[in-house]
């Protein structure tokens, strides 16, 4: 491996001068070009480990996500990447698999590796997160609120549930069920709260048998939808509060057994294989959430940010599905 010493020797200058050229400080043009020639000739790139040991932070940010197989999060990741790249930062992605310990593990690595900052969609409560923020590490939380005093980019989940449910009400449906995630998942319960509120406001029932707390994945959506349609009084419309349970619900409908029901989904379905003209999608634009979060992170890394803030990421109006693009 070529080191800065080799470049300095070849260019006939000191290591300090090489470092200065590489970091854009003023240097006599003669020396500068000599250094650049030497750098090119040796194909030298600075050792980032040494650099970040000395500088006490690297040019890498960590993006800690609970489920890398969920298109919502991969889309969010793309947003973070785009901003990071233009800011000269590299993104490394860590998958916690919804496991709090794994999350702590990765947050600790980000800290120990002196990463410039962290964007995290928390799998659960994290003592370490607060500690990072206290020590003035750049941290932005996305998608899932935490009580700590850190930057956060969130949806107004109650409002999402309300708006989606209201759309079904306005369509004339009278028995509107809701498939949401586990009780321990705050976004799931908040969206269900919105659904309940919209129904009550419209004078419609929002009874227990119309609300299913499913596992928040595709199979959860399938099971829940099948259960709802098999009930004595099946609903004439169903709200799925995230993309994955939406996929599951759609599959059951596509099977065509049992009664029909209008479906509404909070989320997007980039890999849907059926026509879904008939389904309402309340698209969430996770990519834009990623953009927002990354911009906030970059500002904080640069020291341009003030006290921690919570940003509510807007979502677009409820849209009729058509085949998603």
């Amino acid at each position: 491996m070529t080191r800065i010493k080799d470049v300095a020797a070849l260019a006939g200058v000191s290591t300090a001068t090489v470092s200065r050229v590489l970091n854009g400080m003023t240097v006599t043009p003669d020396l500068e070009s000599a250094v650049r020639r030497a750098v090119d000739e040796l194909g030298y790139t600075p050792n980032r480990t040494a650099r970040s040991l000395r500088r006490r932070h690297s040019e890498v940010i960590a993006l800690v996500l609970p489920d890398i197989e969920n298109p919502f999060f991969t889309s969010l990741a793309r947003g973070v990447e785009d901003v990071a790249r233009t800011a000269g930062l590299s993104v490394v992605l860590c998958n916690t698999d919804e496991d709090v310990e794994t999350q702590e593990h990765y947050l600790r690595i980000a800290d120990d590796e002196n990463m410039a900052g962290v964007v995290v969609a928390p799998a659960g409560p994290s003592p370490f997160l607060a500690r990072l923020a206290e020590r003035h590490r750049a941290v932005v939380v996305v998608d899932r609120a935490v009580p700590d005093d850190v930057d956060q980019v969130l949806f107004d989940n109650v409002d999402l549930g309300r708006r989606a449910a209201r759309t079904l009400v306005d369509q004339g449906h009278r028995r509107i069920a809701c498939i949401t995630g586990p009780r321990e998942t705050p976004t799931a319960t908040a969206r269900a709260d919105g659904w309940r509120e919209a129904l009550r406001t419209a004078g419609l029932p929002a009874s227990d048998e119309l609300l299913v707390h499913a596992n928040y994945r595709v199979d959860g959506g399938e099971t829940a939808m099948a259960q709802l349609l098999a009930a004595a009084h099946p609903p004439d419309a169903v709200l799925a509060t995230n993309n994955l349970v939406g996929v599951g619900a759609l599959r059951v409908l596509a099977a065509g057994e049992g009664p029909h029901a209008q479906l509404g989904i909070i989320g997007d379905l980039p890999f849907a294989t059926s026509r879904i003209d008939d389904t309402f999608l309340l698209r969430l634009h996770p990519r834009e959430m990623g953009l927002t979060a990354a911009r906030m992170l970059v500002a904080r890394i640069r020291g341009e940010a003030g006290p921690a803030q919570r940003v509510i990421q807007p979502s677009r109006p409820v849209m009729l599905g058509s085949t998603p693009s």
Copy 2:
């Protein structure tokens, strides 16, 4: 931040002893317990940057992927993670967006950060890759062959195309089209070669108008399928050579306009929303490919690996689709 010096001072030993305790070398029990107490009390974790500067490699491996939004690759990523975790390594994921320059950038980072190794699904030819391998960095290439002398885990793509096409032939179809990726994409052309071979063997036409080189994404599949079905002599069966064009093709079929055609897909559809009983899937099990690649990487990191080898990842028999699980 607490440093090893602080621990040493509190425990009344030298930094060398602390380091030895933390790295499992033999130390007098008295001192060892004193050190452990001090570590606990201070909540000390070693600074990984300093450690990897000295050791000249870190405990992190990079997984460099061309498209993080493709479920094939996220599934592969899960496989890599599972092996890495049990080996005590952390995985960071880098998205090249099919861009060779971005790929070089991330490979360089992996090198400069002294990462323990790299698993990469190459977006294209990479001079840097060969250089890494030459310098005895642990490198494993997955999914897309490269000419360099490095470990590789690949499918037998010609065979995949052949088997998938033969299944359609055995079904009694006589005019079998193929939607594959761009001519510059080796896996795409190899699978198409297999399709052509199977058709010729069966005495069926494999003419140019039956082979569409589409963009290898969902919209490419849609366009290609629409084009095929609108032809003067539409095919009675279509082979889609990857998961994404398969999704696009299915969408067009689901629209129900135009003639029907039997569909076969090389790949899996974890987010399909329709019943696909009627479609043949040749599942590829990218997760297992990730497991294999990560195991090879770990062996190489530990210095247990010999000369570079190419492993052909087996795939299961062609299966009738049903709703994927």
